[in-house]
Point group: C2
């Protein structure tokens, strides 16, 4: 027997869980809410809400539980590790069950009350993945005249699915997002087709400029089920990650329709299914999935400003997503419009190939040196150091998820204060060169910029030194027009150019909905991504979670998935469970369906 006196953190958590469990079992939402602090957050990933929601304060908890308790029936709360206390906060890892599934969670107590609670659905009862001790046998022992081999089964599936049988889910977009979700759905035995315009998995990486490497480190980038091996580089070169995605798609046995274009989709309300017309092998084909997932990426539709004179410009001009790389521009004059990640990468590669390069900075940009970011911002969660300390990528994902977005900005500010101090010289040199630098409106730095607007920053892997040193020329201001051979700025300055690259970002994912379905449905669903932080490009009101991502939308059967590799990996789990529950006819009453405040 352990003595409780020696384990104050454990005792505090056990007592809290006992009371919480009693309140939940009694269906007493108010009593449960009373266990939360005045300022408190309960973040739920599908387990209680069949949604991705953060509720705030006792009122929020009461409201959610009043709605959820009758059907969710949570029980069997346990700690899965020894709780620990630090700086007045007691932390505990939890497991629990609901009527439909098993979940895991994380709790932070302050003075005996919950400050944060994370609850996440891990699996649906009766629909567990066939992993580890549940793995398939691979061969049916004994003799069976009806036996078919793995290869025969795979071939039949490929012949039938989408032709004589219909997929339950179609994922549009076969990048890392579509692939990760496809893998999870396959493990959940949900018939799925991934539709991708490019021929092969990974092509969306292969087609980018040749110097591109991931700006996120390997520990942050794992896909589900198969980890990158220990020899994998910290920053994957684009063609190497492309090969991995192609390999992964094959060995995870995904039904991946490459060279296939989604032409149009219409939701048939009566049948409760989509009519999705795709073009494959030169012919049109109609798929009728119950669920349609858009995983076309934040980088779906390039945003290219059309400046006066663009039609008379005689050189090459293209959006950064179409930039072929620097090889053809040796000795040429290049003007790159934009100052975020792609702009910097493209400028540096052009300079390395002896081009004369000018970067046009139209708005201020946040820069963080890659090494600094790795060490200070990511190192505790995603690094070799973290892995050695037992923080696997899966655990890091849960720690990260346990911090509600409302408090995340406040927690990030001191991190970026530290970065500002550490790299003071660097920022001084950059600003001395005329670079307009910012730290986000509230000083919360890169990751909040990513979550709020997915733009406005550069993770420096070398280009900033070229900007500071003047090798990449910098020109601040707005573009007025183009001439036959130059970009002319609003102040009249002429920037002679053989090449203009528009590193000007991407349209909202709403555009993809309008193109594929209708403007009406795009408006009904509303803006995708962002938190409602009321900062630039992320208008309020506060929404608490990423808009429309990985959760039910105002359009039945329409879902959004994607983001960076971390998001594609972690949130694909919750989206897959939501889709599986619907495929199995499990009741999924949604608490707090996305409200639409903005249409683009």
């Amino acid at each position: 027997m352990t003595t409780t006196a020696a384990r104050p953190a454990a005792t505090e958590v056990e007592q809290w869980l006992d009371r919480f469990d009693s309140a939940l079992r009694a269906g007493d939402a108010a009593a449960a809410a009373d266990l939360f602090a005045t300022e408190s957050y309960w973040r739920d990933l599908v387990a209680f809400t069949w949604n991705i929601r953060t509720v705030e304060g006792r009122e929020g908890v009461t409201d959610m539980l009043t709605s959820a308790l009758p059907h969710i029936q949570p029980h069997d709360w346990r700690t899965s590790e020894e709780p620990a206390e630090a700086d007045g906060v007691t932390e505990a890892w939890l497991t629990f069950e609901t009527a439909a599934g098993r979940g895991s969670g994380h709790l932070r107590l302050i003075d005996g009350k919950a400050w944060t609670l994370l609850t996440a659905l891990e699996e649906l009862k009766g629909h567990e993945e066939s992993l580890g001790s549940r793995r398939p046998k691979g061969v049916v022992h004994g003799a069976d005249p009806e036996r078919h081999t793995w290869l025969e089964d795979r071939r039949r599936e490929a012949e039938e699915l989408g032709h004589t049988t219909q997929p339950y889910v179609v994922i549009l977009g076969g990048g890392q997002g579509g692939i990760a979700l496809g893998a999870r759905l396959r493990q959940l035995r949900v018939p799925t087709i991934i539709v991708e315009r490019n021929a092969r998995p990974g092509d969306s990486w292969r087609n980018r400029y040749k110097s591109l490497c991931l700006h996120d480190p390997v520990w942050y980038d794992h896909l589900p089920y198969i980890k990158f091996p220990a020899n994998w580089p910290v920053f994957s070169p684009k063609d190497k990650i492309a090969d991995w995605l192609e390999m992964y798609t094959r060995v995870m046995e995904l039904n991946y329709w490459g060279s296939t274009e989604a032409k149009r989709a219409r939701y048939d309300e009566t049948a409760g299914e989509w009519e999705l017309v795709v073009e494959r092998d030169g012919a049109e084909l109609t798929l009728r999935p119950k669920q349609l997932v858009l995983a076309t990426g934040m980088s779906g539709r390039p945003h290219t400003p059309v400046f006066p004179g663009a039609d008379v410009f005689r050189g090459d001009q293209h959006h950064s997503s179409k930039h072929p790389g620097p090889d053809a521009y040796r000795g040429k004059r290049a003007v790159v419009i934009g100052s975020n990640n792609s702009a910097h990468d493209i400028c540096a590669a052009l300079w390395e190939h002896d081009a004369d390069v000018t970067m046009v900075q139209r708005t201020s940009t946040h820069v963080v040196r890659s090494d600094t970011l790795l060490e200070i911002a990511l190192g505790d969660l995603y690094s070799e150091r973290a892995v050695t300390a037992g923080v696997t990528t899966e655990k890091a994902d849960m720690i990260f998820a346990s911090l509600p977005y409302r408090i995340l900005a406040g927690l990030q500010i001191p991190v970026y204060d530290q970065i500002r101090e550490r790299d003071a010289d660097f920022y001084d040199r950059l600003e001395a060169a005329g670079f307009q630098h910012d730290w986000g409106e509230d000083g919360s730095g890169l990751f909040m910029k990513y979550l709020r607007r997915a733009s406005g920053y550069y993770i420096d892997v070398g280009a900033s030194e070229l900007v500071a040193g003047g090798q990449i020329k910098l020109r601040a201001g707005q573009v007025d027009h183009l001439t036959e051979d130059a970009v002319v700025m609003a102040d009249g300055t002429e920037l002679p150019a053989d090449l203009v690259v528009y590193a000007t970002g991407y349209e909202s994912m709403n555009g993809a909905v309008a193109d594929l379905i209708s403007q009406e449905v795009a408006d009904q669903v509303g803006k995708v991504w962002g938190l409602g932080s009321d900062t630039a490009k992320d208008p309020g009101p506060w929404e608490g979670e990423q808009r429309n991502m990985w959760k039910p939308t105002q359009q039945p059967g329409l879902w959004f998935h994607g983001g960076n590799l971390h998001q594609s990996r972690h949130y694909s789990q919750y989206l897959a469970l939501q889709l599986k529950a619907r495929a199995e006819g499990i009741d999924t009453p949604v608490y707090g369906l996305q409200v639409v405040h903005h249409t683009h």
Copy 2:
């Protein structure tokens, strides 16, 4: 401080290691040998002997150490886990260093003396693999006009290696053996080409009969660096493992020359290199590697007996390795000659396709039911249960390696006694049907048969019930001749046949040496595989290790590699380190070079 009184096993090991270390540092081979029991075994994997050797008793230890100590300079012995005692044997996991490298080991003490010691080289100092915290960065930060991308580097390597630059190693055979070794050499930065007759990695599996699945379970089958994911089936279907090998080859960046045939090889003693002529894309090309590895498999050259009348037989006849599967033989009469794994698999698949099947058993065969083998013989080391108990595949490999072959048979006999008892009914039924069954000459069962002769057994996945039930007809005895439409047995019985399959095994790997190099070199190198157990197909004298495998041979620069997935995975490590040491010019004095007792 820990009190030694409470840790008797740890104290015993510490005291032993102290004395051992002192003796080794003093260069006193006799004093070190005195720490071993009268019956004792020191198995060394490259760390002390630059060879794979087991020495026996104090005399053996003295002889080996007298030779090795001056240059090996072992030191810094430590335990890497808490030692434990059970049944009078104290076990400890060790680490140590030598002049050239770092090693790990395993020790068993009885009454304070070493009964078994395993020492294994893990890495060469200054030539560590770039894994984990040593992983490559993937991108060189900063701007560099000389930058080349990962893809450009890969393409240049493919263009140059074997043409304008020479590989240090050529591996002949691109099955799992060649691929695993190729991966390790790549991580050790040893320029290597894998030469394979088939077009794509995995084809040697794809080309086999369609019902083939691995008879070994997934935990036993992992390749180095990338483990099969948790959803991988226990028994891999052949086409699925083939896809894995193909993808593995790609993401591990191996230089894999498919559709390439090795025509002939000659060792140039003056240059200390091979002249290896290969045919690729219809043209002959000479490669000049310093080291040549034969990984063409025990299954290299089919052994096909030629019976009188084979030339007049009108039906189909082929070796099991060329058997296309059952589809074309529905309703036909098939005679399968042989009673080992392939024979059983092929008979069962033919029966499942409504063929009339007769198995010709020429010699007795050992059968173990797959489930029983998994549970009783492998479960402690290679199973989900083992993984849960902390016995990773790597640890299981070391535990397995720590048991010298001399005592392994004795340890296996009780395992098979248990199997005999558990499945008594099964064996009774099998023998009642006329099946000639054995347990190995000394009752040591399947794994010893594999190590001694790599034949003579069947891991039952269902065919034995068909034999017992008479669905597969059984005919014991020798074949006398074939007629136009039958196989005629020595007793005159006629077995009408539309198809004859020769499931009659493979030639020794010596044949491959004779074909590729010369009969003279084949004789000089001698028999490959087997232990010298003085049992059928494994003549004495006792050799203590697998003949010629993964270690220096009598032919400089010629090596053998292969075996099942376990051997390909584990022993590729020691072969790769030996090759790397030579590539780096490290002194590698070999203790106890393979002596040749048999030429085939």
